[in-house]
């Protein structure tokens, strides 16, 4: 299980929990798991999120491995200029 920190305004979609546990070994499994376990997150997941895994930010790479002791933080989608 991976512990995922949820940003404040999304916590209404996770029963007000700031941290949730998802059974995932990759980024794809994490995103699928979040959508499955917390359907209210789906609109934001479809609009796009970024995920910080052990301090590095990932957007799209589904096969990115996540270990059970990884620090995983859900972030608003990052965009640059």
């Amino acid at each position: 299980m991976v512990k995922v920190r949820i940003w404040g305004s999304l916590q209404s979609a996770t029963d007000d929990r700031a941290e949730v546990e998802i059974d995932a070994g990759t980024l794809r499994e994490l995103l699928d798991g979040l959508a499955r376990e917390y359907p209210a997150l789906r609109p934001q997941l479809e609009r796009g999120v970024s995920v910080a895994i052990d301090g590095k930010v990932y957007n799209d790479s589904w096969f990115t491995p996540i270990s059970p002791d990884s620090e995983v933080v859900l972030l608003a989608r990052l965009r640059g200029g």
Binding site: R5, W7, G8, S9, L10, S12, A13, A18, A40, P43, Q44, R47, A52, D54, G55, K56, V57, Y58, N59, D60, S61, T64, E71, V73, L74, L75, A76, R77, L78, R79, G80, G81
Partner: protein, 749 residues
């Protein structure tokens, strides 16, 4: 994919880190470089856009018959000429921004376009288009738009994060942070609570938007344009116009600046629609007035901040509520502002709330570290005020609270190795910090943070038979990337820089490359270039080993040649890259290296800025006397370009702080759409901006590179405001700090 090769960051460089000649220099200084407006085609028509004179109006009727009948007019398009496709909301907004649908949402919103044989005919045709508008109430100011009874631009666009009862113009709410802010503020010896405002500012690129489109009856289309991302243009135009991506080839011209403002489309779908209808090429070039009225500035903001500090300088809690207006459509960069506001600091209690608000202004576009400069202005101003109130050294206060490796950031993630502390310590020992100040002068400092991105990248490296090397990449060169890619390829191959030439491919010649944004190119394209060179080296090693009749493991690449290695390799004279290339047809054919990657895991970046100003007590005018940038570059591939990025960000930030703003009349019409009245800093306004490059290697890049293009615009708003506040003797909270505003503050203090 992030390549964690931390040991490589200790390598000795021969080419990387030097200041080689820029490959585009001669073309640009002699006028040979071809920018967006320099393209032409046989039979080309001139395209022009009719724009709304109203800030908010329903389009009751639109009659183009007289324009279409005018001799020399070959096509007129309105929204009806764009297919009614089921687009996702973001693309639908881009389509609506390029050509208004039921309503014009801002002064300058496109409502129709013509293609004619000359500019004069096109202008006459525009005058013949009859538009009946029903003028609607408008709203320009972010706080007015935030009020529940504000005129509504859209109905039902707010996402699920927005509570009931909010203004219809609030599109989204974001919240980040942790701890108990109120409890943290209770522990403070002093709390500053203020509201800070920043004006909308334009990216101010010198080259206006321009493109040339042609489309044949078979559906094959070509587009030449000035953009930060030809693949983005291809994919966006194809989606909006119902084209297949592979049938539309987009070629990026040289680019006269972008700074985020060319990461979307404005003219391109219109030009393609006109070309499709006319059956002839159509060229469109914006005037400066059109650029300012109808392309993306950044958001304006209104930010409430509360920060508590103990008298020894420890921040006990930080809170910010940020309201950003992003123009007429959802998507202001408030989420990024909310995440970055307190990112430089190690805080136990921190919270930010961000509100995305729409107004009757042009759709905002990205601008260098989108959303972060405004947030940094508010937070760094409050920290400066507290530091001064306690008589503390503002750099030492920041050092006391600085995020370091292992700090959990305010946005949630824990930092790896970062360079903030190094920038602060270097600033503290720099001669600038100890230099004396004169009467009416003040010194300000501020820190800034940016995420930096990577993204989809594709590079091809081809070796010619004489040993010269071409690197083909897909990102328009805005800040010197052709030089940087050539340098990294030369470094990896062990050959002189002059032996490598890098070119920018069109969309049909290379796989997807994301936009030149997010400070991604030197990091991501550099990573791909290095890996493409490594692939070519592996192939050359394989061929030489076969030639020598030994195992591939028995050869190594060193100093631009294959050498035998190990006890069983035998004696062979090394073969240089040029020697291997010369016999390529005999050893298996052309030699190339490719690398395709979604280069994620880019390292974050920090900077500290220091500035001295003098405020004229009679006029309120501010003169910038001295400016020094301290920033972590990971590894500066070409230090001159890195210094240029630092200086450019500081210069734009100075303009944002002192001069630049969109000024609207009561009718919602932009009053200053030109560079005479919208005043960006010019050379005579600025001192030489000093730079100090720090190199804390990014473990996610083979050479330790971090993006540097955006962080440099994050601190200057606050640094200048802190300096002006010190010089004027009154805290300035409203940007720009134009002379009347400063004079007024000084007179009422």
């Amino acid at each position: 994919m992030a390549l964690n090769t931390k040991e490589d960051t200790k390598m000795e460089f021969k080419v990387v880190g030097t200041r080689v000649a820029r490959p585009d220099g001669i073309d640009k200084v002699t006028g040979r470089a071809r920018f967006g407006a320099d393209m032409s085609a046989p039979g080309m028509l001139v395209g022009r856009v009719l724009r709304s004179p109203h800030a908010h109006a329903r389009i009751v009727s639109l009659d183009t018959s007289a324009a279409q009948a005018l001799d020399g007019v070959h096509a007129v398009v309105t929204r009806a000429d764009f297919p009614d496709l089921d687009l996702d909301p973001m693309l639908a907004d881009i389509r609506d921004n390029c050509m208004a649908g039921a309503k014009a949402l801002y002064d300058g919103h496109a409502v129709a376009a013509v293609a004619a044989t000359s500019a004069a005919v096109a202008r006459q045709a525009l005058s013949l288009i009859k538009v009946e508008y029903e003028v609607l109430p408008h709203v320009i100011d972010v706080d007015e738009a935030f009020a529940p009874d504000a005129p509504a631009l859209h109905e039902g666009r707010a996402d699920e994060s927005v509570p009931e009862g909010m203004s219809p113009n609030v599109m989204a709410r974001y919240s980040f942070g942790r701890g108990d802010v109120e409890a943290g503020l209770e522990k403070a010896d002093r709390v500053v609570r203020r509201t800070y405002c920043t004006a909308a500012t334009h990216q101010g690129y010198i080259e206006p938007h321009a493109c040339l489109a042609q489309m044949g009856p078979d559906g094959q289309a070509d587009l030449w344009c000035c953009t930060q991302g030809q693949y983005m243009v291809r994919d966006t135009c194809a989606a909006i116009l119902g084209l297949r991506q592979g049938q539309l080839r987009v070629t990026a011209s040289e680019i006269g600046g972008g700074f985020g403002g060319k990461t979307t489309v404005f003219l391109e779908p219109v030009a393609l629609a006109l070309a499709r209808k006319a059956g002839r090429p159509v060229k469109m070039v914006m005037s400066r007035q059109e650029v300012l009225r109808a392309t993306g500035p950044t958001a304006s903001s209104s930010i409430d901040v509360a920060i508590g500090m103990t008298k020894d300088g420890r921040i006990t809690a930080g809170f910010a509520e940020l309201r950003y207006q992003g123009g007429a459509y959802p998507g202001s960069p408030v989420a990024l502002g909310s995440m970055s506001a307190f990112a430089p600091y190690d805080l136990e209690h921190v919270r930010t709330i961000g509100w995305d608000v729409v107004t009757n202004r042009p759709k905002s576009a990205a601008y260098r570290a989108p959303g972060a400069p405004m947030a940094a202005f508010a937070v760094e101003s409050a920290i400066d005020e507290l530091s001064r109130d306690f008589g503390l050294d503002p750099l030492e206060v920041r050092l006391k609270n600085a995020a370091r490796e292992g700090t959990r950031s305010a946005y949630g993630a824990t930092y790896p190795a970062i360079g903030l502390e190094a920038t602060l310590r270097t600033a503290h020992t720099h001669p600038h910090w100890a230099a004396p100040l004169g009467e009416n002068q003040g010194r300000g400092v501020a820190c800034g943070f940016w995420f930096n991105f990577g993204g989809n990248t594709c590079v091809s490296l081809n070796i010619a038979s004489d040993g010269t090397v071409n690197v083909t990449e897909g990102n328009p060169d805005i800040g010197g990337s052709r030089a940087s890619m050539s340098m990294m390829a030369a470094e990896e191959l062990g050959i002189p820089y002059e032996q490598v030439r890098t070119v920018i491919a069109d969309t049909a010649s290379l796989g997807l490359n994301e936009v030149t944004d997010g400070s991604r190119v030197t990091f991501a394209v550099g990573l791909a270039t290095i890996e493409a060179a490594r692939a070519a080296k592996r192939e050359m090693c394989r061929r030489v080993a076969k030639l020598w009749g030994i195992d591939e493991e028995a050869v190594v690449w060193k100093d631009g040649a294959v050498h035998p290695a190990g006890p069983n390799a035998g004696k062979h004279d090394p073969m240089t890259l040029a020697e291997i290339a010369a016999i390529a047809p005999n050893t298996g054919g052309p030699i190339a290296g490719h690398f395709e990657v979604n280069a994620e895991g880019a390292g974050v970046s920090f900077a500290t800025h220091m500035v001295d100003v003098e405020v004229d007590p009679e006029t309120g005018a501010t003169k910038v006397l001295r400016y020094t940038v301290f920033q972590d570059a990971g590894k500066a591939v070409h230090p001159s370009y890195v210094e240029g990025q630092f200086q450019g960000g500081a210069a734009q930030g100075i303009g944002w702080a002192l001069n630049e703003e969109y000024i609207y009349g009561d009718d919602g019409v932009l009053q200053n759409p030109g560079f005479l009245d919208y005043r960006i800093p010019v050379a005579s306004d600025l001192p030489m901006i000093d730079t100090v490059i720090l190199e804390i290697p990014n473990p996610g890049h083979p050479y330790g590179v971090r993006g540097v293009g955006e962080t440099s615009i994050v601190p200057p708003l606050a640094a200048v405001a802190n300096a002006v506040s010190a010089a004027a003797g009154v805290r300035m909270t409203d940007l720009p700090m134009s002379p009347p505003k400063v004079l007024g503050a000084m007179q009422t203090k």
